[in-house]
C-alpha cells in the first residue's frame, strides 16, 4: 500500500486521480465524526466533501513533515466548528431534531443502497451517544469523536486540536467520565428527552 505522503507527492506532480485513494481511506471516519456531531447525514457529507476539496486545492502547501491525516482532520475540524457556530445555538436540539427528521422519513428496513456505515449509525445507541456528546463542552466531545470515530492517537488529537498531549488526554478522560455518568443515569432522564 502506498503511504499518504507518497500519494500526495504524486498528486502534486499531476496524478490527480490518486486523490480518490485518500478519499477512500478517510471518508468513513470523517463521516462518522460529523454524523455524530450534527445528526444529519447530508450535512456531514457536505462537510466531508468540502474538507477533501480544500485539501486538494491547497495540496501544494502539504508537507511530509506532518501526516496527511492530521492535516485533513485539522481542516475538517475547523470546517465543522465554523459550521457548528454558524448553524446552531443549541447543539443538543439540533442533533435531536435531525435524528427525529430522519426517523420521520419512513424507512422500514435498510435499503440495499445503504452502506454498512449508514446502517450501523442508524441505531438508537448511536443516536443516544450523539445526544449525550452534544451536551458536553465542544472540545471534550470533539476529542472523544477524534479518538473513537477518527481512530486517532493522542499525539494526533493534540496536533489536530492545537493543544498539549496532556490536554488531549484530559479532554478524552473527562468527556468519558461525564458520558459514563450520563449512560448510568440511564433511561430515568430519557423520559424527558423523547
Amino acid at each position: 500500500m502506498i503511504d499518504d505522503a507518497t500519494i500526495m507527492k504524486r498528486i502534486c506532480s499531476g496524478e490527480y486521480l490518486l486523490f480518490d485513494e485518500l478519499v477512500l481511506r478517510y471518508r468513513e471516519r470523517l463521516l462518522r465524526f460529523a454524523w455524530s456531531k450534527y445528526g444529519s447525514l447530508s450535512a456531514a457529507e457536505d462537510l466531508v466533501q468540502e474538507a477533501f476539496l480544500s485539501a486538494f486545492a491547497a495540496r501544494e502547501s502539504y508537507n511530509p513533515a506532518f501526516a496527511f491525516s492530521t492535516w485533513l482532520w485539522t481542516i475538517f475540524l475547523n470546517l465543522c466548528r465554523r459550521h457548528y457556530k454558524r448553524e446552531l445555538r443549541h447543539p443538543r436540539e439540533m442533533v435531536r431534531s435531525s435524528f427525529a427528521a430522519a426517523e420521520a422519513a419512513v424507512i422500514p428496513e435498510p435499503s440495499s443502497s445503504e452502506t454498512p456505515l449508514q446502517v450501523a449509525l442508524k441505531t438508537e445507541q448511536f443516536e443516544l451517544l450523539a445526544l449525550y456528546l452534544a451536551e458536553l463542552p465542544e472540545v471534550q466531545a470533539d476529542a472523544l469523536r477524534l479518538r473513537f470515530f477518527g481512530g486517532m492517537k493522542f499525539t494526533e488529537i493534540a496536533l489536530t486540536m492545537d493543544c498539549s498531549l496532556s490536554a488531549a488526554k484530559i479532554r478524552v478522560k473527562n468527556g468519558l467520565l461525564q458520558l459514563a455518568h450520563r449512560f448510568s443515569e440511564g433511561s430515568t432522564s430519557e423520559g424527558e428527552v423523547s
Partner: protein, 202 residues
C-alpha cells in the same frame, strides 16, 4: 506498562482487549477502577465501532464500491459544478498546513538530546543570536505588505481548475483517452472555486 500507557489502551478504538492491558489491570487497582467507571461510555463507543467495522460488511462494501465506482460514485466523490469551496476555506487549509509544519519543526528541535559539550554550547549561543537577529528582521518585514502569505489563495481568483474532479470525470466519460487529451479536457471544466465565486456573484 505504566498507567498512562494503560489509559491509551483502555480508550483504544481497537486494541482495548489486548493481553498487555489485561496484565496491567490485574496488577493495578487504580486503572481497574478507572476502566469500570468509564465502562458505560467505552462499551457504547466500542459496540458502535464493532458494528461499523464488521470485516465482512466492509469488504463487501468495498467490493460493491469498486464495481459501481465508475457509474455511481456521485455520493462519494464531488462532481464538477457543485459550489462547495470558497477561497476562505482553501486559506484555512493552507494555514493548517503552515501551523502543522511549524509544530513539526519545533518538535524536532525539542527532541531530547545528549548534553551539549562546551564547543557545542558556543555554537548554540551563536545560533540563538542569529535566530534573534532573524526574528527581529522578520518582525520588521511583517510591517510590510500583507500579501506574502498563501500564494495559491491569491491566485485563486484567477481561475484554478479543480483538476482532481476534472480528471475523474474525463476518465469516466472517455475511458480510452490519452493523458494529453485528459489534460485538455480538464481545461474546459470550470473549477469548483470558480463555480463558487460565480454562484455567490449571482
Amino acid at each position: 506498562m505504566n498507567c498512562d500507557e494503560a489509559f491509551d489502551l483502555i480508550t483504544h478504538p481497537t486494541d482495548h482487549n489486548c493481553e498487555e492491558l489485561q496484565w496491567h489491570l490485574q496488577l493495578c487497582p487504580r486503572c481497574r477502577q478507572m476502566k469500570e467507571t468509564l465502562a458505560p461510555a467505552l462499551d457504547t463507543f466500542q459496540q458502535i465501532l464493532d458494528d461499523v467495522t464488521d470485516v465482512d460488511q466492509l469488504s463487501q462494501f468495498h467490493a460493491d464500491f469498486h464495481q459501481t465506482s465508475d457509474q455511481e460514485s456521485a455520493s462519494i466523490f464531488p462532481k464538477t459544478g457543485q459550489p462547495f469551496l470558497s477561497a476562505e476555506t482553501v486559506r484555512m487549509a493552507e494555514q493548517a498546513a503552515s501551523r502543522l509544519r511549524a509544530e513539526s519543526v519545533t518538535n524536532q528541535m525539542t527532541k531530547p538530546s545528549q548534553k551539549p559539550k562546551p564547543h557545542q554550547k558556543r555554537l548554540v549561543h551563536a545560533a540563538l543570536i542569529l535566530l534573534v537577529g532573524f526574528l527581529m528582521g522578520w518582525g520588521i518585514s511583517l510591517n510590510g505588505p500583507e500579501n506574502q502569505f498563501s500564494p495559491s489563495v491569491s491566485s485563486l481568483q484567477s481561475q484554478q481548475p479543480c483538476l482532481w474532479i476534472a480528471q475523474r470525470e474525463s476518465r469516466a466519460n472517455q475511458p480510452a483517452k490519452t493523458a494529453r487529451e485528459k489534460g485538455s479536457a480538464s481545461n474546459v471544466v470550470l473549477s469548483c472555486v470558480a463555480c463558487h465565486l460565480q454562484s455567490t456573484a449571482e
